[in-house]
Symmetry: C2
Subunit: 379 residues, 2 copies
């Protein structure tokens, strides 16, 4: 094939980098999953009883499917920080490491001679990245994803008018792991230009604080945070879910008066509605939302979702089905990846950045690489 | 001060890099905000009428506060892609660029000689990053954050038993912008080792597909996706919100039987409850949730939130207040940044990765840097 300008894609660009990750649960393991996927060698240091995420569930032939998703492509070693020999081994590993990642409680490392100042004496080039709940100074406060969602106001803007709700994925953990990953990449770029090691500290609260800017700025400058309205947008209409004849739901988003007229003409078959002064612009449509919804429901409720979506797409109205998790599992756009954990195969949703490298597929058992690592890094 | 091992922090490590971003709305502007914050020069190319996000609201002295948050530190130029002179100017700018970022509808660029193959003829080293809704191949489908939330099943796991809900922040857009940022950093690291330009394509659906792994794997391997339970965790108990005497809510998270006993002894003042076989382990507590909640409510409902949280923290039980957006706005951990847009000052939540560089604070008016850029990049 003659493809003169075929571009490269990402291809294990972190090959040769060594990451030592003293990690548990979700945020730091997700960060080191991304590092491993980009080609780094990731040594997962586990407490004697193992990362407690190994016990989250038993879906992968007795092992945890959640753990499998977050930990493929890593080497596992069991380390007892109370054991002097183990502690010496960890310090030796850090002397060969580019990155030291950890999400232990603040203070736990300093007590064992693994604080920032200690590790930099031996390894001045080390990128030292701490993940915490509320910042390095808020020592001792336990932070779980759901608690941070609540404390940062995210639950207050999610749910129905009556009931604030948790977001159904651990987005504080995941956003923090991804932010830490971006910080480590930035530090690798910076370190190349000389200079010593770099300290990074990422907190779940800071990450979600930034992501809360839209409701926060609404509160500060626009007269209040947006209302919780379930599957309806508070400030734009029509923008939300409507029921179809086959008892499914379809979401539509109308972002301009031109699109409103296209909806009335092309889908509702009612051009007069497009000229109705009650619905002439978005503020009027929000004000007269109940009457507008009745007009839409009267038509949508007589059509199947598939037929309706076809006519919405012909009219160039943005639309989407309301999917169940089962619908997602069979969605044509979902890219799956089969990974292996012991004898079990687990089909996970793949990472979004595609690469020319083969994906890692093996999930380590606890201490699977312990003996080899102890030989390699003998203090 | 004698601080022998004072580490570096991030400090404009992308200085000297040039990013041309043909962008609108949220996902790509958030990505280029992160690039600008890391020191890159970001040229924001706007359609003749401007990024439509400029019209999202009028909270910053007539300008949009949302636009302000997403666009500080960039140079703005108005470009009409239908005008041959403007198109030539854009192509000249791309010859000096390290990164070409865009979130126009797929196909819109190729029609104007700005497709991947076209730009690489002139600029073989270019990192070309496309952000789309459902992938480069799903041409023409409009994708808004809320629609992707619904289609990817996120709304199905968020909300109450009766009512699925939208997540109150644009997390698909933000997660995609951050993922694209990490991809561009990876590409910059890879390009340093030789080789030509790199193509990246990031879709909102792929990003949120990965973030849906927990409910997806629950569905596939654990008997079903977790139920929607408002502010209650489906699989762990007690884990959720309880009302206090002063009509506030506090969330607690009990993750072990040891913590359950500590709650009963130290906070509920009822050691016998800690030994009650109905609540002996997490499966039993989930099964007998109603009785457990009555016992907790009886005590929590008689205490103020402040007093309760103090005793929870003494007992080492993870807890958090349920915050409103107003509470967030005054939270002691929130780091604010004052930015300037025309004559107005806007106080936003700062980015989570701290740096030794001064933050950008100026938000560009439409075409504010147009004349200077036209001189600099005269075709």
């Amino acid at each position: 094939m003659n493809e003169p300008h075929q571009p490269n894609r990402l291809n294990r660009e972190l090959e040769g980098r060594v990451v030592v990750s003293l990690e548990q649960a979700v945020a730091a393991p997700y960060c080191s999953l991304l590092l491993a996927d980009a080609g780094a060698r990731v040594i997962k240091v586990e407490r004697p009883e193992g990362d407690f995420a190994r016990g989250y569930d038993r879906g992968a032939g007795g092992h945890s499917v959640f753990f499998a998703w977050l930990n493929r492509g890593k080497e596992s070693i069991r380390i007892d920080l109370e054991n002097p020999g183990d502690l010496a081994l960890l310090k030796t590993m850090l002397q060969s490491a580019d990155v030291f990642l950890h999400n232990l409680a603040p203070g736990a490392l300093a007590r064992r001679g693994l604080g920032g100042d200690d590790v930099r004496v031996r390894c001045p080039q080390l990128i030292n990245c701490q993940i915490s709940g509320y910042g390095a100074d808020a020592a001792g406060r336990k932070a779980y994803d759901f608690l941070v969602q609540a404390e940062a106001g995210l639950c207050a803007v999610t749910g129905t008018a009556e009931q604030p709700s948790r977001v159904g994925v651990s987005l504080c953990d995941l956003a923090t792991g991804l932010t830490a990953f971006s910080g480590i990449l930035r530090a690798l770029l910076q370190r190349r230009d000389g200079g010593g090691g770099i300290d990074l500290s990422v907190s779940l609260f800071d990450v979600i604080g930034d992501w809360m800017n839209m409701p926060l700025l609404s509160h500060r400058y626009l007269g209040g945070a947006p209302s919780r309205l379930g599957l309806t947008h508070a400030l734009i209409a029509p923008y939300g879910a409507y029921q179809t004849a086959d008892r499914k739901q379809v979401l539509i988003a109308v972002q301009s008066n031109r699109e409103w007229r296209a909806l009335c003409e092309g889908v509702l078959q009612n051009p007069a509605l497009g000229r109705d002064p009650r619905f002439a612009d978005n503020p009027k449509r929000v004000e007269n939302r109940a009457a507008m919804d009745r007009a839409i429901d009267a038509v949508f409720g007589r059509k199947t979702r598939a037929g309706l979506m076809a006519s919405l797409e012909r009219a160039r109205i943005a639309c989407a089905p309301l999917s169940s998790v089962q619908d997602l599992s069979h969605h044509a756009c979902l890219r799956n990846l089969d990974i292996r954990f012991g004898g079990a195969t687990v089909s996970v949703a793949d990472l979004p950045l595609q690469s020319d490298a083969e994906r890692h597929r093996e999930v380590p058992q606890l201490d699977q690489h312990g003996a080899a690592l102890r030989r390699e890094f003998k203090p």
